[in-house]
């Protein structure tokens, strides 16, 4: 009987965790690559309206315009809707310069295909948006996209 007792059996060997760091590093690199740290902090309220008839935005050729009422901590801009481009608050007259500057940063081949993405707070008045659109027409940036969040419009 002692012959059998000597045998190392019955116990399950521990799982080899030597490759665990490798796996975790792989995941880590994935997330490091996809992470986009926001380069401009929002100074306006930005609760986007809902919509379901949507198309995807092509990021490489887009310029963002934010609009809405001033966010918390930015009371100095008043209570009316304001426009933010990049990380600056802009008024209607300066939109052209700001957008022209951003357009120059795009790849040369995409400059003519620029899409302006409007991220406008749901509580804003339409008047502000149509002022922006009027400026865009003068700049000949006629492709725009109203960014929405998923949902049906009836929940608005």
């Amino acid at each position: 009987m002692s012959k059998f007792k000597k045998k190392k059996g019955g116990e399950i060997p521990a799982v080899n965790t030597a490759s665990l760091p490798d796996i975790v590093f792989m995941l880590l690199f994935f997330f490091m690559v996809v992470t986009v740290l926001r380069d401009s902090s929002l100074m306006v309220k930005n609760t986007l309206p809902k919509g379901d008839q949507v198309e995807k935005l092509k990021k490489d050729r887009s310029i963002f315009i934010y609009a809405g009422k001033p966010g918390p901590g930015y009371d100095k801009y008043g209570t009316e809707g304001i426009i933010q481009i990049g990380d600056k608050i802009t008024n209607i007259g300066n939109i052209k310069f700001a957008l022209e500057g951003l357009r120059q940063k795009l790849l040369p081949s995409l400059k003519d295909k620029v899409v302006v993405a409007l991220k406008v707070d749901g509580e804003t008045n339409t008047g502000l948006v149509s002022d922006i659109k009027e400026e865009l027409r003068e700049l000949n940036m006629v492709k725009i996209i109203y960014i929405t969040t998923p949902g049906t419009e009836l929940q608005n």
Partner: protein
């Protein structure tokens, strides 16, 4: 005295460090997928160009006031009913058969007082400056939905696939099949129901 071999560095905590970093990036990551309603603005034009002649019955007027109420073709309407109203208008095909404007693919009521042909039909949206952006987007969304509904119907009838699905697949670059041929067919459908959405200059507040 013989030098001792340097002891191996303990790599056991490597996984912990990596996990810590991983969790940090997991938390900070926002994989932004922006989606929205795409629109092309009309180009800048000269001041005194007369508007193109349009028959009144070919225009579908949606008026939104500052209290976000909808007046569609002179009638107060709820947002839920707008889509169907727009579909009925576009799909009407009121021109009598035999006339050059006859619409042979329309399935609407063929009311002579409504639009002649989807190619002629124009939807005009008039906003007040104080209309909320939410309502504006909702109205645009509903109108685009009406066009998409009709385009899907026609593409299913003619080619057996769904217009919006194929269009999105091509845009995202994962359409399997002949992309150019599909693109041609998409254009064909778009010509059957061209997106004629006009936007009037918004009125001054509360007028």
């Amino acid at each position: 005295m013989a030098r001792r071999a340097t002891p191996e560095v303990n790599a056991g905590s490597m996984a912990d460090i990596a996990f810590l970093l991983l969790i940090f990036f997991l938390v900070t990551t926002t994989i932004e997928k922006d989606k929205g309603i795409a629109r092309q603005l009309p180009p800048k034009q000269e001041e005194d160009v007369p508007p193109p002649p349009l028959k009144e019955k070919n225009i579908f007027i949606v008026n939104v006031n500052k209290d976000n109420q909808l007046l569609v073709e002179e009638q107060l309407m709820d947002l839920e009913d707008l889509r169907q109203a727009a579909i009925d208008f576009l799909d009407n095909g009121g021109a009598p058969s035999g006339s050059p404007e006859h619409c042979n693919y329309c399935q609407g009521p063929r009311d002579t007082r409504s639009s002649d042909n989807p190619k002629k039909a124009v939807i005009s949206v008039q906003n007040d400056r104080l209309t909320s952006y939410k309502t504006y987007i909702s109205v645009q969304n509903e109108l685009v939905a009406a066009y998409n509904f009709l385009r899907n119907r026609e593409s299913t009838r003619l080619f057996g696939w769904n217009f919006t699905e194929v269009k999105n697949a091509i845009n995202e670059g994962n359409y399997n099949g002949n992309e150019d041929a599909a693109w041609e067919q998409l254009k064909q459908i778009q010509e059957l129901f061209p997106l004629n959405l006009s936007e009037a200059e918004p009125k001054k507040r509360g007028e």
